[in-house]
């Protein structure tokens, strides 16, 4: 009698673990997909950041600033004699 109960229990446990394995495997797949998605999102953000940095650097290129300041804004470099020395 007890043997039968034991057998039934073991059988039930076996089925349960089998289902658990399937479940874990499913979970793993889901998580892996999620991880891949997040990594991809991270990469895309990094790439976007790099591109923006590059864009900023291109806009801030010294030669361009120089040209814009001189021609469009009409700025010029102060002559040394234009600079007033203030002594404390």
């Amino acid at each position: 009698m007890t043997l039968r109960i034991l057998l039934a229990l073991l059988l039930a446990a076996n089925v349960a673990t089998a289902i658990a394995v399937v479940f874990a495997r499913h979970e793993h797949r889901q998580l892996f997909i999620r991880l891949s998605q997040l990594e991809k999102a991270r990469d895309n953000l990094n790439i976007e950041f790099g591109r923006l940095q590059l864009e900023q650097a291109t806009w801030a290129e010294s030669n361009r600033i120089d040209q814009v300041a001189r021609t469009r804004l009409g700025m010029k470099f102060p002559e040394t004699s234009d600079i007033v020395v203030v002594r404390p």
Binding site: G50, L54, A57, T58, E61, T80, S81, V85, R87
Partner: protein, 596 residues
């Protein structure tokens, strides 16, 4: 089988000699043998030949594919990006599959922008392969447009491309990378291991057409390259490049280099060379322009050597700054040749020798030193020794050992001929003079401070600085390099270009200087090769001095260096106000006079 077994049993019921028990035993034995054979085969497959079969299976669908990673960014000392990797797409195709759809190839060729027949030829040549690049390094948007055509056998792969926002201004220092994103020249090459990322790898299951069905395993994660912060200051670099370019145009010179060092740390703040190239579109044509002349090309230092000669004599105790040197009659014999001055300077003090840049004076000072003494001293200053800045292809210059000197070598070397050095080495020497006699190896990396070694007594270094200060003051050879408000110590140099064992009528104009004299910050060397003598002459003072002035004036302002010569500045201001006031007074008067 079971059906047949029961049928057999029915037939055999009449025959008593066959017991059913035995029959069952035989059948069981047969079945057992069968299953034993199966088990045996299973053991064979699973245990003995397992590796072979697994390999075969994996080879058919499991692939390890690389995970591309980006190269580290290079920034200047203030974090401004100088070299950035950004992703691009490379389109590749599987020729075997593509050749199965010949009707779609013209469409693909058009999208790629190549002639259709060329594409077909390329594919047929590689018809036994499964991979061919169709177009590398495309704009991701364009690549997506090609993939959207959904031609079978066309795939894209992410790669990274390097961009240099500063363009040609910093091209020599940074160098560039090749199509596989590996450093080829300059700091990209020197720090390739540091900048380069390690691509990761992952296992995927691919179907027959190369599409990824499932991600199986991450073999190793991708390690992005590390960023590198240089000692270069983007603004000073641009200023240096701009002024050097202007000087090159104005003087008609063939090439030029300039180096700016931080005196305290030996950091390279700027390094510019001309002619330059565009690192964003490197082609193999202008190889000559790829060279970082400031580090690789040697020049004879010419008169910029004189402060070192004088320092050697001061250190040996054979002269003092006030010692009188008779340079009459403006020349002296030097073997079969003569050492001559530009004019007869008469009797000069040691300081005067520097101020007037007298070759005869320098030669007479060097005469008081032994060959060994002189050699040891200039060797200590790094002549003939590579500066170990970490830049690839660095030259060490040439300094002969005294055993190979002829009778005239010491005299010739005293004013900078018969030995050679790179502009970077000269800048290093001047930084050492400014830094109280401490020679610090130059570096391109921010914060990587080399300890340096004491090569000269600080007191003597200071005396030499004071002597060099007279060069940019009225009466000196480089008044063009003077900066209002600051004391500038410097030395001009004009060397004939050595060629075919003699000296050609071509010149190298050099200016090496340090600013400000009290608490020096920058050491700068400007080298202009082969200026057209008919434009601004060829003397260091008239050709290279103005570049030094313009760059250093900007750099002092950019780095907030307080002026050390307020008096001159105030005097100049007072003078200007003095002239401005009468002008202001006359204007209303003339205006009033004009009214009626």
């Amino acid at each position: 089988m079971i059906g047949r077994a029961t049928a057999a049993r029915g037939k055999l019921r009449n025959r008593a000699q066959f017991s059913p028990r035995r029959r069952v035993a035989v059948v069981c034995a047969c079945l057992a043998l069968c299953s034993l054979a199966l088990v045996g085969r299973a053991v064979d497959l699973q245990l003995i030949d397992n590796d072979f079969y697994r390999q075969q299976g994996d080879a058919r669908f499991l692939r390890e594919i690389p995970i591309p990673t980006s190269r580290g960014m290079i920034t200047d000392r203030n974090g401004e990006p100088l070299a950035v990797s950004t992703p691009v797409e490379s389109i590749w195709g599987n020729p075997q599959e593509l050749l199965k759809v010949p009707d779609r190839l013209p469409q693909l060729a058009q999208a790629l922008g190549v002639p259709a027949d060329l594409l077909v030829r390329k594919l047929t040549q590689r018809s036994d392969k499964e991979f061919v690049y169709l177009k590398r390094r495309m704009n991701p948007d364009e690549a997506r447009a090609i993939l959207a055509l959904e031609i079978p056998g066309v795939f894209s792969q992410r790669e990274f491309r390097r961009f240099y926002p500063q363009g040609d201004a910093l091209a020599h220092v940074l160098g560039f990378t090749n199509i596989d994103d590996r450093g080829q020249e300059g700091l990209e090459l020197a720090f390739d291991d540091w900048l380069r990322g390690t691509p990761g790898a992952k296992k995927v299951i691919r179907d027959r057409r190369g599409r990824i069905v499932e991600n199986v395993d991450l073999v190793r994660p991708a390690q992005p390259g590390k960023d590198l912060t240089l000692s270069i200051d983007r603004r000073i670099q641009y200023l240096t490049y701009r002024e050097l370019k202007r000087a090159l145009l104005e003087t008609g010179a063939s090439s030029a280099s300039a180096v700016v060092l931080d005196v305290d740390t030996g950091e390279v703040l700027a390094m510019a060379n001309l002619p330059s190239f565009n690192p964003n579109a490197v082609d193999g044509s202008a190889r000559d322009a790829h060279r970082n002349r400031a580090v690789t090309d040697v020049i004879e230092p010419g008169s910029t050597m004189k402060p070192v000669t004088v320092a050697a004599a001061l250190a040996a105790g054979v002269v003092t700054p006030g010692t009188l040197i008779d340079t009459n009659p403006g020349w002296m014999p030097n073997g079969r040749y003569r050492t001559t001055d530009t004019s007869n300077h008469g009797v000069l003090t040691v300081t005067g020798v520097i101020t007037k840049s007298s070759n005869v004076g320098a030669a007479k000072i060097a005469q008081r030193l032994s060959d060994e003494q002189f050699y040891e001293f200039i060797r200590r200053f790094g002549y003939g020794v590579a500066p170990h800045s970490g830049f690839p292809g660095e030259s060490s210059g040439v300094l002969m050992t005294p055993s190979r000197w002829s009778g005239t070598t010491k005299q010739t070397m005293s004013y900078g001929y018969g030995l050679s050095a790179t502009p970077l080495q000269i800048a290093e020497v001047y930084a050492a003079l400014a830094n109280g006699g401490r020679l610090i190896a130059p570096t391109f990396v921010k914060g990587q401070r080399n300890e340096g070694r004491q090569v000269l007594d600080p007191q003597i270094a200071h005396e030499v600085m004071k002597m060099m200060q007279t060069v940019t003051e009225p009466g000196g050879t480089a008044t063009t390099a003077a900066i209002l408000g600051y004391h500038v110590a410097g030395k001009t140099g004009t060397a004939r270009v050595a060629s075919n064992g003699g000296y050609a009528r071509r010149y190298v104009s050099v200016f090496a200087g340090v600013v400000p004299v009290d608490n020096p910050r920058f050491s700068m060397v400007v080298v202009i090769n082969e200026p057209d003598p008919s434009r601004r002459g060829y003397y260091g003072g008239s050709v290279s001095g103005p570049v030094f002035h313009d760059v250093m004036q900007g750099a002092l302002r950019l780095m907030d260096v307080p002026p050390d010569d307020i008096q001159t500045w105030l005097a100049a201001q007072a003078k200007k106000q003095g002239t401005a006031k009468p002008a202001a007074a006359t204007t209303p008067a003339s205006a009033a006079g004009g009214q009626p």
